[in-house]
């Protein structure tokens, strides 16, 4: 059902964990639907380069794999470059996902955006092209449709 790359990232997820005093943290999804992703970013305030990225995910194999791949894709990038990491890009990097799991990749994209949004709010800056993340567990956005 899953590609080899998805299985690899599920079995050996990269960047699992937390970052203490992270520059930005974003949590998206909700437990009701069975997927929650939390992304931690460590961002250099001068260069806006993402020095480190970690995640924790409650969810299926695809949710774990997309989180893992997304962290790999944004690590070392600037904020602006990280915004270009779309769900499509994550999916392609994983050699595709079953149709019913596409929403997992959307969640990964949103988790990055939510962490960046948190960073921008903490620092009182505006990140061009970044919109307020759509879903957050604290908002009980249970009826979110993907």
């Amino acid at each position: 059902m899953y590609s080899e790359k998805v299985m690899d990232h599920f079995q050996h997820p990269r960047n699992v964990g937390e970052i203490e005093d992270a520059s930005g943290v974003g949590t998206v999804g909700n437990a009701k639907c069975g997927d929650i992703m939390r992304m931690y970013l460590d961002i250099d305030d001068e260069s806006h380069i993402i020095r480190d990225c970690k995640f924790k995910t409650f969810g299926c194999g695809a949710a774990v794999a997309t989180s893992s791949m997304a962290t790999e894709m944004v690590k070392g990038k600037t904020i602006e470059e990280a915004l270009l990491v779309t769900n499509k890009a994550v999916m392609e990097a994983l050699d595709g996902l079953p149709p019913i799991k596409v929403h997992c990749s959307l969640l990964a994209e949103e988790a990055i955006h939510a962490a960046l949004w948190d960073y921008a709010e903490k620092h009182g800056i505006k990140i061009e092209g970044l919109k307020k993340p759509k879903s957050d567990i604290s908002e009980h956005d249970a009826d979110e449709e993907y």
Binding site: M7, V16, G34, I36, K56, A62
Partner: protein
């Protein structure tokens, strides 16, 4: 091939080699059509009659009350729709439960779209239907009660005898989906006042694609599959002779060792339950602690998701199933787990392991060891667990 520990016997079972052996002659040797007049087809007719006899005997029924179908789903569809149509002039109300198999639930929805009213009874925290509530739900226009004998997910065995008595008292037909229970627990249709009963071959070490519907004599049910005059004009289509032979053999074998099997499975089941509950924190047992199928276990592990757990068990060669949304193909977890009152996030973390007579103590111990490790690993990755640990630390520091 790595060793497979197959713990999904509620999904399907291994066809017993003795069953396969019994079936084989009916593919290449006795392949005649049972409807034909020539002598060449006689062994087919005889073999079918023999299977019918075995099954009828198993239920305390008459051979003429057994109708072969292609399995449990067809039998359920047939029982509900045909009863609804035949008795619509008497009333259009049907009572069933929230924890039925989809073969019943979706047929119920279909009938609702055709002008029938269906009451879906709730169940208690163990998945048990209350006979009192069922009796209260009966109306003058109730024509059918359909309650499953044992639940396929959580294994709870329903109070079928009491329900049958209530149905009889009120003169209402009673159907039971016994797909999980037939040949696993003793069933007598007269003692339990059952009017219709669905069963399937592949849940009792028989072949897939064959089952039957027991229909009590005197019920005016129309046929569901239209065509030829097979099955006393009630179920058209050339009979699946090898399948029917296999089903009969499987029932014969299962009945002979039912008690012995149940005893062995119950011991292993209880060992599995007690080890999981003792060794995995934040776990719960779904279903009734004792009134459950001897081969069924169903757990919910907090803070983790079922599909991840299944994939990791699969990597260790262990086959199980889950009621999580990801495995159900929708955004909602299992309707059975929701009906027993589990919150969504806990229902997502469910695991069903169903044993067979071939399951060994070593299999169970290896499985528990794997489950422990996997649950711990998934929790270390879970933001829900992280939040839980943090809030617990906060509480501890306050205290």
């Amino acid at each position: 091939m790595k060793k497979v520990i197959y713990l999904d016997n509620a999904a399907t079972t291994k066809t017993d080699p003795k069953v396969v052996e019994a079936m084989l002659p009916y593919f290449t040797e006795h392949y005649g059509n049972p409807s034909s007049v020539y002598e060449f087809s006689t062994p087919c007719k005889e073999a079918m009659a023999h299977s019918r006899e075995i099954i009828a005997k198993a239920l305390g029924a008459d051979e003429s009350e057994i109708y072969f179908t292609n399995g449990g789903t067809e039998s359920d569809n047939w029982a509900l729709t045909a009863t609804a149509e035949a008795y619509a002039s008497k009333g259009k109300h049907i009572i069933t439960t929230k924890i039925e198999h989809h073969a019943i639930l979706h047929t119920g929805e279909y009938l609702e779209s055709r002008g029938f009213e269906v009451t879906y009874l709730p169940v208690d925290e163990y998945g048990m239907v209350s006979p009192e509530e069922l009796e209260k739900a009966i109306r003058p226009d109730t024509i059918l009660i359909s309650v499953m004998f044992a639940n396929n997910e959580i294994g709870t065995i329903e109070p079928i005898k009491e329900i049958g008595e209530i149905a009889k008292k009120h003169g209402i037909l009673f159907h039971t989906d016994a797909v999980q229970a037939f040949c696993h627990v003793p069933i007598n249709v007269d003692e339990y006042h059952i009017d219709m009963l669905s069963a399937s071959g592949h849940k009792l070490n028989g072949p897939k694609g064959v089952g039957f519907l027991y229909i009590r004599k005197g019920l005016k049910l129309r046929s569901f599959i239209h065509g030829g005059a097979q099955e006393r004009k009630r179920r058209a289509g050339t009979e699946n002779v090898p399948g029917i032979v296999g089903l009969g053999k499987a029932v014969e074998l299962a009945l002979a060792k039912m008690d012995e099997c149940a005893k062995k499975e119950t011991e292993l089941r209880d060992h599995l339950i007690s080890r999981i509950m003792a060794e995995v924190p934040y776990a719960r047992l779904n279903g009734h602690p004792t009134k459950r199928l001897s081969n069924n276990t169903n757990f919910a592990f907090q803070f983790i998701e079922g599909e991840s757990l299944l994939i990791m068990l699969d990597m260790n060669g262990i086959c199980g199933s889950s009621g999580s949304a990801c495995t159900s193909g929708s955004l909602d977890p299992s309707h059975v787990l929701l009906a027993i009152g589990l919150p969504h996030e806990i229902a997502h973390g469910s695991l069903r392991l169903t044993l067979s007579e071939e399951t060994t103590l070593e299999d169970i111990d290896f499985t528990v060891d794997c489950v422990k490790q996997i649950v711990e690993r998934l929790r270390s990755m879970s933001p829900l667990y992280e939040d839980f640990v943090r809030s617990r630390e906060k509480k501890d520091s306050k205290a």
